[in-house]
Symmetry: C2
Subunit: 339 residues, 2 copies
């Protein structure tokens, strides 16, 4: 089912930038109009479509009259406003009307709605949030960046499987290099969780390349980097913080050094995509029965366009089917239910 459900009301600049992103995706042929469904308050969304010249494009709009403030807890959002654009969107995927869901709404609410509404893939015990980042040699996928701050070793092993399948499917790399984030290159370094997960990953039908140290994350050869949700989140957020800080300093110093405006712009144009965390559309919720992309709250049109593009690619590549296939062949340690 290669259709994408797009939450028209998610994010700081919704619905304008969401619909602008959709327009961009159509224009760039990332998607056809019949491949996209929108959720949100019907009139408002239709008005926005008309404003972007998409009034007659035949894009399906599914009414979601309950507007989330973004301050609600996931539980409150789902309980008190059941017809919100996230819940309605996930419902469409559940019904099989779409294969993917994209939202720039609250991460917690999307994760809760998708996990409860879609459930986990057969054989997968816990979903993970993956972030795709621009590296020196190629994009890389870090997971988990925050779904589960206290995973067990077999969860990390499943992240490795899922990450490998996702990366292969969307970036066309036959055997992605999968590593585990650690604090040294030696086998025995790290904490017990990492050591146990390493041992499991070695048994998986993936190209497992061992430890990845923090300093190699951006410049090394790994396509997929596995971490617990706490450390992965720190990795992601610290990288963002360092990049913002350094670029502020660099452009300040360039100005002081008298670099002219034209050169500044060229440098800016070259560097910004490299630190743009929306280049590949947003974060992924891997392990649920559907393709779910969570865009940054401050996403603009290009982020939504890219999200549509990569979600369709994941659907076409049948990433989830591959995950289930591999998970079936792997004997994971028996664990208590819900573990």
């Amino acid at each position: 089912m290669s259709k994408v459900v797009l939450d028209a009301l998610g994010g700081d600049h919704a619905p304008q930038e969401v619909v602008a992103g959709l327009a961009m995706a159509l224009e760039r042929k990332f998607a056809r109009p019949d491949q996209v469904l929108l959720t949100g308050p019907r009139d408002r969304v239709l008005q926005e479509l008309a404003a972007r010249g998409l009034g007659a494009a035949g894009i399906e709009v599914h009414d979601a009259p309950d507007v989330l403030s973004g301050d609600e807890s996931p539980t409150d959002a789902m309980r008190k406003k059941p017809k919100n654009s996230i819940a309605v969107g996930i419902g469409l995927v559940k019904q099989g009307l779409g294969g993917a869901f994209i939202s720039a709404g609250s991460t917690g609410t999307v994760v809760a709605a998708a996990t409860l509404g879609l459930g986990c893939l057969e054989g997968i015990r816990r979903p993970a949030i993956g972030a795709i980042i621009h590296g020196e040699k190629h994009p890389f996928l870090v997971l988990d960046v925050g779904a589960n701050p206290m995973p067990k070793a077999h969860h990390l092993a499943q992240y490795a499987l899922m990450g490998s399948a996702y990366y292969r499917g969307t970036f066309d790399v036959a055997e992605p290099n999968v590593g585990i984030l650690n604090i040294g290159s030696e086998e025995l370094k790290g904490n017990p969780l990492v050591r146990e997960a390493r041992a499991m990953m070695k048994q998986l039908p993936i190209r497992f390349t061992g430890n990845v140290e923090g300093v190699e994350v951006f410049s090394g050869d790994c396509h997929v980097i596995v971490a617990d949700g706490f450390t992965g989140n720190v990795l992601l957020k610290v990288s963002e913080g360092v990049a913002e800080y350094l670029l502020r300093q660099m452009f300040g110093l360039m100005k002081q050094a008298g670099v002219d405006g034209a050169a500044m712009q060229k440098v800016q144009k070259g560097i910004l995509p490299r630190v743009d965390f929306s280049e590949y559309g947003g974060a992924l919720l891997l392990g649920v029965d559907g393709v779910v992309t969570i865009c940054h709250g401050r996403s603009r049109a290009p982020a939504f366009a890219n999200a549509i593009r990569f979600a369709l690619r994941a659907l076409d590549a049948e990433v989830n089917r591959h995950i289930v296939q591999v998970a079936r062949t792997v004997a994971l340690p028996s664990a208590e239910p819900n573990a």
Copy 2:
């Protein structure tokens, strides 16, 4: 005992850069010649001192004929080469001939030698490695960056105490802001370790400011950031990696954009100290009975000069006496011995 013991043989560029750093420290009046003791193979060190014009400066050299390769495990280093420059240096601090020890040798060996040789400060259960980093508003201290990848909550609370005392003593900030690295700003976010440690830190006689998210680390108001040794190490190493990667990209783009050499040099001169992790001398081993600084293996003269400067400052400020004083007033949870 305001004397510094300097490992003349530690690091990739020893003894040349170590002795050059000492010469720089003397020239800049960071230290007097009678405040520094050197350890290493006597003749080689004396020769290097002579080469730097310090042959007659009256600097004490303590012979350490066993040369470490850097590949030995800490245990092998201490057992098979007991007269190495690290062991001899720590021995001098233990005997009270110096108050501080500085080495760019293997971190593992320095930590092992210092922990076993000097022991922990009264009331402190586990040492931590602290790194001082150039932030946007001020330098900040992150601890632990790798001494203990699996700490308990009360260890983190002690890191907060130690970090606060060290920062106050060496940077002259009366009440440093102390935060705990977490994956959200809300009180209940994170893992059980962080939540438990937070509750303890609130009771301490420090200015505890709560959670620090990854994105705020470099630009926020915290002077001291507490983390477990695994996450702290990832923070430090990822920051280094991102900085190296981005600067490589930026200078490449500037070149492509035709920025002239003079402007490039100005920018470089401005940015390099900001990403120079040796600006404040190196990493600290906090919690042992002595001031111990571990310089990066690739340290050059300025790093050693700064290490001497900050080590003497920590001695003058009696950082360790303050740590013990505060630790005494704080009822830490009872724990099994060695916990």
